[in-house]
């Protein structure tokens, strides 16, 4: 398989053009949803049924309590109902899911990770897929979005303890943003060949002289929100490489578009909500630059066709689908790891070593270009605060961000945010490496074995969900370790972001002075870009050197 550079350039340009054209009108729509004050009749009915007082404006700690209570209830429900699968309708003859796998999967879908330690075809039936996993695809995506909305309100509001109502934000995000787009996208996918039924079909395979059962299921409805909500948990084991999830290169392009749609429009909504559109443009430009740089690097690394097996095969092929080939695979691999998606249309484990390395670096950047739904923007806003702090040190002024003082409290929260994920990744990967029984679950040899483990924890703690699939994490030890990585990597940052939102909201607005570092424009954008890259490099370079760099450079 050869790398068609013209096709690559045209598809990358087309994505940039389409997303740039949509980010303003869609961003305005998003901001209107977040700032809306009226509820529709069905929404009022929903609030009454769920027992929500839509008029309450919560403090940051109550908002956080709602996030945590909702997530805990969701994890328990998804876990418990998977265990009960054997007696629930719509599950065929499948028994209850193994407790370790059920626990891992419940955490995985509620944290927007969608790491798949289960093999869908043999483990979960239509009920679990449709009523548990696909529902969490919506709700975990919505939770990420409402957390960044609370942070934006914290920046925009002054002298208040109130950040909004979690339940109302969650309902509006789910029903006004995710649901209508997912519905249209699912119908487009069906037209393109993605399955949506509730039965399998028996066929007679003449070539082998055997009867076979072609699987069915509500795939399109799950596939649409899987991409739109940057979730990534596939209906089938092979994920978006499976022909029923991703039947042709046009649908593959559409899936990448869906992955990037919400994260790339959120900066515009941010600019609008803080009343300074230049802020939104700067954040969007940094995201776009990182995405473009990373996708170029990925294209180069894939096209290089490095690796002894690739050379022996006479070209790329292992892990690739013929209808895609290297170009759609490189575009998908970059976009899925620069967001918190983790869907894959090519086996990342078999990619050339440096291409696998680029996928890891994308996640290590904190998935901020454009990032997961909501989580990408809050990650980049924290990095913006770190950047104004560093700039403030250089000019000897107290740092401010959009009229809010960045004092010791705010800096502690931001610094902890930056440290949490690398600590979780490196500590858990480090512990695993020390346990031979655990390492036996990664059957590769040499640096690639370490890469499989590093990739797993990087993916888990960053709530990505893609994998170097050679590793098996369904046993008790790695199920728990990955569960920890996903929980800590999701909720510690959310605690810190909401605490920061509360502390910013309490402040009054200080007018910009001559000493204020402007947080828009080329200079700040460059600084933010540099801070993002350097922080990642400092945290992860030694680990990367032992894995993909060793494999890619020493051959």
């Amino acid at each position: 398989m050869t790398f068609n550079t013209a096709s690559f350039v045209i598809q990358v340009a087309a994505l940039l053009i389409v997303l740039a054209a949509l980010h303003k009108p869609f961003g305005i729509y998003l901001a209107r949803v977040f700032e809306g004050t009226t509820s529709s009749r069905p929404e009022r009915l929903f609030y009454r049924l769920a027992g929500i007082d839509a008029g309450t404006d919560q403090t940051w700690s109550v908002y956080l309590r709602s996030v945590l209570a909702f997530s805990a209830v969701s994890i328990l429900a998804v876990f418990g109902l998977q265990r009960l699968q054997g007696v629930l309708p719509g599950s065929g003859s499948l028994p209850g899911v193994d407790p370790w796998i059920a626990m891992n999967t419940a955490i995985s879908f509620v944290t927007n990770t969608n790491w798949q330690t289960y093999v869908p075809e043999t483990t979960v039936g239509i009920f679990v897929q449709m009523c548990l996993l696909a529902v969490q695809n919506f709700l975990s995506a919505a939770v990420g979005i409402v957390v960044v909305v609370a942070l934006i309100r914290g920046i925009a509001r002054t002298r208040t303890h109130r950040l909004g109502n979690f339940w109302v934000d969650l309902a509006r995000t789910s029903f006004r943003i995710l649901l209508p787009i997912a519905f249209v996208a699912a119908v487009v996918m069906v037209l393109g060949g993605v399955v949506q039924n509730f039965w399998s079909t028996d066929v007679t395979n003449q070539a082998a002289g055997i009867s076979q059962s072609i699987p069915g299921g509500p795939v399109a409805s799950q596939e649409a929100i899987k991409e739109l909500g940057t979730n990534g948990g596939g209906y089938f084991n092979a994920n978006s490489a499976h022909p029923f999830e991703n039947p042709n290169a046009l649908i593959s392009f559409f899936e990448v578009f869906l992955i990037l749609l919400i994260p790339s429009a959120l900066p515009y909504a941010f600019g609008r909500m803080v009343g300074d559109q230049k802020q939104g443009y700067t954040v969007a430009a940094v995201m776009g630059t990182l995405w473009l740089a990373s996708i170029s690097l990925m294209g180069w690394a894939v096209a290089s066709g490095q690796g002894a097996a690739t050379a022996a095969a006479g070209g790329l092929g292992e892990g690739f689908e013929q209808r895609f080939g290297p170009v759609p695979s490189a575009i998908f691999a970059t976009s899925t790891t620069l967001t918190s998606t983790g869907a894959v249309n090519v086996a990342h484990d078999s990619l050339p070593p440096l291409a696998g390395g680029v996928a890891m670096v994308n996640m290590m950047l904190g998935e901020v270009a454009p990032g997961g739904t909501g989580s990408g923007l809050y990650g980049l806003l924290i990095l913006s605060i770190i950047s104004v702090f560093i700039a403030g040190l250089m000019v000897g002024r107290t740092p401010e961000y959009l009229g809010k003082k960045i004092g010791p409290t705010e800096m502690k929260l931001a610094a902890m945010y930056i440290l949490v994920t690398p600590t979780v990744v490196l500590a858990l990967a480090g512990i695993t490496v020390l346990i031979p029984d655990a390492m036996a679950n990664a059957p590769a040899t040499g640096p690639h074995q370490f890469s499989e483990v590093l990739y797993a924890f990087t993916s888990g703690a960053n709530n990505n969900g893609s994998a170097f699939g050679g590793i098996t994490t369904s046993g008790p030890f790695l199920s728990v370790m990955m569960g920890l990585a996903m929980l800590l990597g999701r909720f510690l940052p959310i605690v810190l972001v909401l605490a920061l939102a509360g502390s910013l909201a309490r402040q009054g607005k200080i007018p910009a002075s001559a000493g204020t570092v402007p947080t828009h424009g080329l200079l700040f954008g460059g600084l933010l870009l540099g801070v993002t890259v350097i922080l990642t490099a400092l945290s992860y370079f030694p680990a990367l050197a032992l894995g993909p760099l060793a494999e890619g450079l020493l051959k």
Partner: protein, 203 residues
């Protein structure tokens, strides 16, 4: 105590929110997509099932089919799909997930190369990459036009058809246009084999 009751009240709301959201997002939404799909695109929504000349469902046009017998021997009368980590079993799907330098992968590639070269009666250097590498899904229905062309003489001879007849069927199932530009040109082996059976029903 205040915090505890606060959490309990929030948990109560969470349970009710989750329940009613599930009715909308987990039941009504997939059913609506199902309804629209069955109405406007039943062929795609039900798995792109294609039928043989007798009208019996023969395959999904999107899913590879095994053309080997139980012992693993490839039948020369059919076009062969790419290697599969799941033996073309539609009830499962997976890549090999072997690393780009994995010795096991090197062995598999070498074995596949020798098998294809002997099946087609060509030298090992002529075997294209897609013929020796396992796909991402294990169910990839497509092969490269180069690999299809290599298989034409064998299939034509086994079926007593002219090479031109077989080649024209290959061309009929080769993608072109936008999807081929976005991805790469591919020959759908599953659909090709169903057509081939119709063209020479004697087998």
């Amino acid at each position: 105590m205040n915090t505890l009751t606060g959490y309990l009240r929030q948990a109560g709301t969470a349970v009710r929110f989750l329940l009613f959201a599930t009715l909308v997002l987990g039941v009504a939404y997939p059913l609506a997509v199902f309804g629209v799909g069955q109405l406007i695109a039943p062929y795609q929504a039900n798995g792109s099932i294609i039928k043989d000349s007798a009208g019996t469902p023969a395959a999904s046009a999107l899913i590879a089919q095994a053309s080997a017998n139980d012992a693993g021997a490839q039948d020369p009368k059919w076009f062969h799909a790419r290697p599969s980590a799941v033996k073309w079993d539609p009830a499962s799907s997976s890549a090999s997930n072997l690393g780009p330098n994995d010795p096991k992968l090197l062995d598999a590639v070498a074995a596949n190369r020798a098998a294809v070269a002997s099946a087609e009666g060509i030298s090992e250097q002529q075997v294209p990459a897609d013929a020796v590498t396992a796909s991402g899904s294990g169910l990839d229905p497509d092969i490269s036009p180069a690999y299809a062309k290599l298989q034409v003489p064998r299939v034509a001879a086994a079926r007593h058809l002219s090479a031109d007849t077989v080649m024209s069927l290959v061309n009929k199932h080769t993608t072109g246009g936008l999807t081929a530009f976005l991805g790469q040109p591919s020959v759908n082996v599953t659909a090709l084999n169903v057509d081939l059976a119709a063209a020479s029903p004697s087998k």
